[in-house]
Amino acid sequence: MIIIIINNNKRADGRDFNELRPLKIEAGVLERADGSAYLELGGNKVLVAVYGPREFYIRRMQRPDRAIIRCRYNMAPFSVEDRKRPGPDRRSVEISKITSEALKPAVFLEKFPRSTIDVFIEILQAEGGTRCAGITAASVALADAGLPMKDLIVSCAAGKANGQVVLDLSEIEDKEGEADLPVAIMPRTGEITLLQMDGHLTPEEFEKALDLAIEGCNKINQKQKEAIKKRYGE
């Protein structure tokens, strides 16, 4: 008699429910930018450049007591199956806004009054979870730019796919799944700086997903630290 054991808990791409896709982070990859980082998470390829703190020429938007962070999240036309028209759309404008808000709490902005810190996030290839990948890479780039920071913001999504609460949704899980919950935290305090959700979750499932996302963030945070240590030594 042959018994075939099927592990029903495995996902479409063979990962466990709490397993991240392969992750690679590199700091300081661009010459001109003040700080930069390159990140690969599964099929996601993200490049981030930071300029600043530099003079902010739009006077009415200057803050007399601190710097502001401006973010531009942009997808390359060749980053997705069907070519994306270049330029900002509603989705990228929203992501740019929440990304800058997610990063702000970590930087000592009051050190640089009247100036701007510009964060440019380029999605070179997208495979689900690009906003989280962008935030994670952006905080490495901010650190690479030598900005004084309280913590490295790290971001990761959890969600529900095929009736199961899972970590780090792939593109298919994101499209066909029941819920998506991107989260960004400051790992030292556990405070949440970004939270979005769409889909359907019970309060119990939500708590489970949130815990899972935070667990994922902490794993990614180790890689962020390694990337910075690799560039600047222990």
């Binding site: 661009l30 010459e31 001109r32 930018a33 930069s36 099929g43 390829k45 490049l47 981030v48 450049a49 300029y51 530099r54 531009r72 942009n74 390359a76 036309p77 060749f78 980053s79 997705v80 199956e81 069907d82 070519r83 270049p86 330029g87 510009d118 440019f120 380029e122 070179l124 290839q125 997208a126 495979e127």
Partner: protein, 267 residues
């Protein structure tokens, strides 16, 4: 790319660059007719049908080639379409601003487009699916990631490389319906190879592959597009200073030699 916005070069730097070039030397140790180190990686974006990453010195570009089915232009009903688009990303330089493409970006895309189109790199006739109705439209998107001078040569090299490694699905027509066979991918019909070679005139002398610093102080820029057989397929002069015929003919000879060197990266 002449008169870069906001880049004011100190007079002492300007003079030192000019003095060096008058002594047949350059700030980064190259000879006048020497390119910086070039690297070319193909197929770096799996989701794009064709792609390439080019580095010339610290200048870094990523190029994607993506096909789409579209209607042909009414005057060329049997020909596919090539569209070149470039983005000078604000990440690439403190002088690049977000927003709609400025004149530098438009010039880059148009010169690259001319070089590849007039060089007949792709056999556009073979990209026709239904005459007058459906053809392949190939988008070339130039993503400038790091700007340290000489975008044109890097862009043309990367675009040709991306076209050469691009694979498109086989399209067949059954009852006037197009059927795409995603299993059977074939390379684009490549006719020729065309490349571009850019010179900057600084203090009366010409240097090949100007760095950003050299672009900031140059009087004139000239880009020569050349095919593998040595014929010229595109040219563009930039900058405010005039140039003589003798100078131009001399540059064409140098471009021929340099294009030969660049071609090796496409093998």
């Amino acid at each position: 790319m002449v008169n870069n916005m906001n880049s004011i070069v100190p007079e002492i730097t300007r003079r030192s660059i000019i003095n060096l070039i008058n002594n047949e030397e350059r700030a980064d140790g190259r000879s006048l007719n020497e390119y910086r180190e070039i690297s070319l990686e193909n197929g770096v974006i799996e989701k794009s049908e064709g792609s390439a990453r080019v580095k010339i010195g610290n200048t870094q570009l990523l190029i994607g080639a993506k096909p789409q089915i579209a209607e042909p232009f009414p005057d060329t009903p049997t020909m596919g379409v090539l569209m070149t688009n470039s983005e000078l990303l604000p990440m690439a330089s403190p002088t690049f601003e977000p927003g709609p493409p400025d004149e530098r970006s438009v010039e880059l895309a148009r010169v690259v487009d001319r070089c590849i189109r007039q060089g007949e790199v792709v056999d556009l006739e073979k990209l026709c699916i239904i005459e007058g109705e459906k053809v392949w439209m190939i988008f070339l998107d130039i993503h400038v990631l790091d700007y340290d001078g000489n975008l044109m040569d890097a862009a043309v090299l990367g675009c040709v490389a991306a076209l050469m490694n691009a694979k498109i699905p086989n399209a067949s027509v059954v009852d006037n319906e197009i059927i795409l066979d995603q299993e059977k991918m074939s390379p684009l019909p490549i006719n020729e190879k065309a490349l571009m070679c850019t010179f900057a005139k600084i203090g009366g002398k010409f240097v090949v592959d100007p760095s950003l610093l050299e672009e900031d102080v140059m009087d004139t820029r000239i880009s020569i597009g050349m095919r593998e057989d040595g014929s010229i397929c595109a040219m563009q002069k930039g900058g405010t200073e005039p140039i003589t015929k003798d100078e131009l003919m001399n540059l064409i000879n140098i471009a021929r030699e340099k294009t030969g060197e660049l071609l090796k990266y496409l093998e």
